[in-house]
Amino acid sequence: MVPTHTHTQPIITAQDLCFSYPQATTAALQVINFSVEFGQFILLCGRTGSGKTTLLRQLVPALRPHGSITGSIEIAGQTGFVQQDPDNQIVTDLVFHELAFALENQGLPTQVIRRKVAEIATYFGLEYLLESPTHSLSGGQKQLLNLAATLVTDPDILVLDEPTSELDPIAAQNFLRHLARVNRELGTTIICCEHRLDEVLSLADRVFLMKKAGECVHTPTPKAAASTQPVQTAALLSYEPQEFVESCAEENKDYVLYLPEPTQIALALAPSDLPLDVRTGRTWLTNILPERSAQRAVEGSCVSQEKVSDATRTNPAITLRDLCFRYDKTEPYILTHLQASFSAGEIHAIVGGNASGKSTLLGLISGVLKSQLGKVKLTKGLRLAALTQNPKASFTCDTLREDLSNVTQHSTPVTPHSTPVILSERSESKDLALDLDPDTYPAADAVANITQQLGLTALLDRHPYDLSGGEAQKAALAKVLLTNPDILLLDEPTKGLDAQAKADIGQVLQNLAAAGKTILLVTHDLPFAARYTQTCSLLANGEIIATAPTRDFFIGNSFYTTPTQRMTRKIIDGCVTVADAATTLISQKD
């Protein structure tokens, strides 16, 4: 869609919109100008704290926060709003109650409500769930229900605040597919804030990029100057998708990580005519490669396999023998005769579909659950700690500082032979760690040490629930690390995190593994597993079907693998991560 469609009516226009919360010193939104045309799909991007949620709430009249507002915002239509957490938005107990809720608020007669509920349920394929209690739905179904419950009043504009961040990748794709359908079939204008750009970028008509006040670009590039939006004072930049990805080569460099993998690969070579998904990525690849014969990859950033010596393989930290488990005697077994061993000093990933028993397996290893048959064996003397899926569950105090010192008070003191882990290469933290006498390792110093290494020092006095997703995950990790574990179990550590936060967590985990910790994580996030782990296991049908070094694991797959591997399969052999593909292509060019 070209922005010069002068005949189309804007449905939302914001002019010089500024907003600040009461008693706040700085404005939350600064001089925002934009217009959204009828039926457009707008993708809103920006860093944590750039005011995305504040802006989205300005678009929903019922939720407009109190504060001082200047400039104008005009909305020509009714707005629906879908938030992040699928669970918290459902207010009633049964699916049909939930679907009827908005209609009841409008005071519609029974017959109309009946029909509309039936209609929307059929449109989204929820009719077989109508009488189910809402708590029995899966996360994906819940979020779909939220979408349906919002759309049931037929709003003109749909505003979504990171709707897929709490969903696993398959449920997220399903949700976004429905969203695209709503946009295409019903012509509903959509404004979606999302950091999973892989799926959304190819759907979007325009990309709005929000920047913090200091982040603003003062020297407009030729490309941006040519666009219709003024750049010099705006905290919101409007791009076409292609224009946006190209801008990531220069002024928006720090957004590269957020782009779909095919785009990232292409961006490493030439910043023009970039592919936005796997399909266009494959076309692009065949175009730039002279001959179509399969090529070998040059090994890139994927974790090197050399470290995995036979010695450590024969000396596993965790051994699982013949595990069988079910939750109730009337239910089928979730795990059947599961065998596995995980060697020390490595990062292992367990991947698999929904309800394949990944979290159950972690529960068994950590001892929260007890298996009916079989045995979990940990190497003697190793301490184990686990991080639950929702970081909110880890916090019990009013500030992060209290929360962290709470752990050191309660856990057994650090034993003399265990040396503090050095998480980052920063010299000052190394000194801090080495200066400490392990016998008199005071709690406050431990907290200071860990928080500094994880970059949490500035957040110590915040309430844990006021942290962003990435910060909360790191804080929960800090809490677990304070118990000084040798084995670390993580359940979906990247859920709800943006690309930058994922990279941070990945780095922390690698440092931990380098310090000799054994890390076992279950995840749906294949690119993360490919980038940061040494071995991968596929859990399906109640047992571990395959275990292999990460690279081999993904190269063997065509479907259940990373976007890069899907893009390069049969064209270049052995590319699993973006860095693999980019290095290979660059070396070919030379």
């Binding site: 207010v91 908005a102 029974t110 105090c397 179990l489």
Partner: protein, 337 residues
């Protein structure tokens, strides 16, 4: 609630109700149409059901005639056995009998009216007289208690929360919504509690040997549960607001009616209402002169019409299930020929 029987009764009810809940959760659906048991009654409109339960309870509560109370008890027990199974009936009796014994004992011990002396106890110089009439009266009241409890057992089975809400929503929309929301928040709170305990366990916070530490960890988990629930509740409130709850426009909230009032329902309503009216009027008219003290009189004070109406009213579920059963058995016979 204080008396011994109440907790005992509650415990029994929980065991029964609890296992029911578990079954529901496992099935993932409301078990409001359980196909294995007779279900004609559950197809009625909730309003008709409610009318039925109100009618039988009122009739039971206004009748003192032991025969009527016995009738009510027997038919309620038959209903429980039919819809919930005889095991459930036995379970209910397991705590009903002690409760009934308490009621009888209470009346015998403290009610000294009545002419026929049963026994006299000399106790520290004062004499206590127990009478036959008070025993008989106590037994009647115990019958009433048992009948009420059994009718409530059936009520519990049929008036599921969605039926109750359906009836309540037009009258008290906000309260009905609050009830639905509480029901939504119970499993959610439970889930959060499990998550918090799991996280605390894996942090080894409460693994310390000291009781004090364990206790502290527990209270911290509890307050975390409260804070977490409250934070999420705000998001739910926003979601309600975004979907037009209590919007500026002064709409009166309507409610989605999942049930239709069919002609069968109309017929059932007419029948129940008529029987109820006849039963009430005749019970009032005839048992006014019923007296337990000083001597029981009025055993003959029971009009045949009133008795028949009460019988028909209370046997209503049995009758319609019987009709259904007959239809099916006829059909099977026709098909088999």
């Amino acid at each position: 609630m204080g008396l011994i029987w109440v907790p005992a009764a509650k415990a029994a009810a929980t065991i029964a109700g609890g296992s029911n809940l578990k079954k529901q959760a496992r099935a993932g659906r409301r078990s409001y149409q359980s196909y294995a048991l007779p279900q004609r009654f559950s197809l009625l409109h909730p309003g008709v059901m409610m009318l039925f339960f109100v009618a039988v309870l009122v009739v039971t509560l206004i009748s003192y005639h032991p025969l009527l109370l016995l009738l009510s008890l027997v038919l309620a027990a038959a209903g429980v056995a039919l819809y919930l199974g005889s095991r459930s009936l036995l379970q209910t009796f397991a705590w009903l009998i002690p409760s009934a014994v308490i009621v009888v004992g209470f009346n015998v011990l403290f009610n000294r009216r009545g002419a026929t002396e049963l026994a006299t106890l000399q106790f520290f110089g004062s004499s206590f007289t127990f009478t036959q009439e008070s025993l008989f009266f106590g037994a009647s009241i115990a019958l009433m208690l048992a009948a009420i409890m059994l009718w409530f057992r059936l009520y519990q089975h049929f008036m599921t929360s969605d039926r109750f809400l359906y009836l309540a929503a037009p009258v008290m929309p906000t309260t009905a919504l609050a009830i639905a929301m509480v029901q939504r928040w119970i499993p959610l709170t439970k889930y959060r509690w499990q998550q918090i305990r799991r996280a605390q366990k894996s942090l080894q916070i409460d693994s310390g040997k000291r009781r004090r530490d364990q206790y502290r960890a527990l209270t911290q988990s509890l307050s975390a549960l409260m804070s977490w629930s409250m934070e999420d509740a705000i998001e739910a409130a926003d979601s309600m607001q975004a979907r037009g709850y209590r919007s500026k426009k002064e709409h009166r909230r309507t409610s989605f009616r999942a049930y239709r009032f069919t002609s069968t329902d109309a017929a059932a309503t007419a029948l129940i209402a008529t029987l109820f009216a006849i039963a009430t009027v005749t019970i009032f008219a005839t048992t006014r002169d019923l007296a337990f003290f000083p001597v029981f009189r009025g055993a003959d004070l029971l009009s045949p019409v009133g008795l028949a109406a009460t019988l028909a009213l209370m046997a209503f579920p049995l009758l319609i299930e019987g009709k259904e059963k007959l239809t099916w058995s006829l059909r099977t016979r026709i098909h088999s020929q």
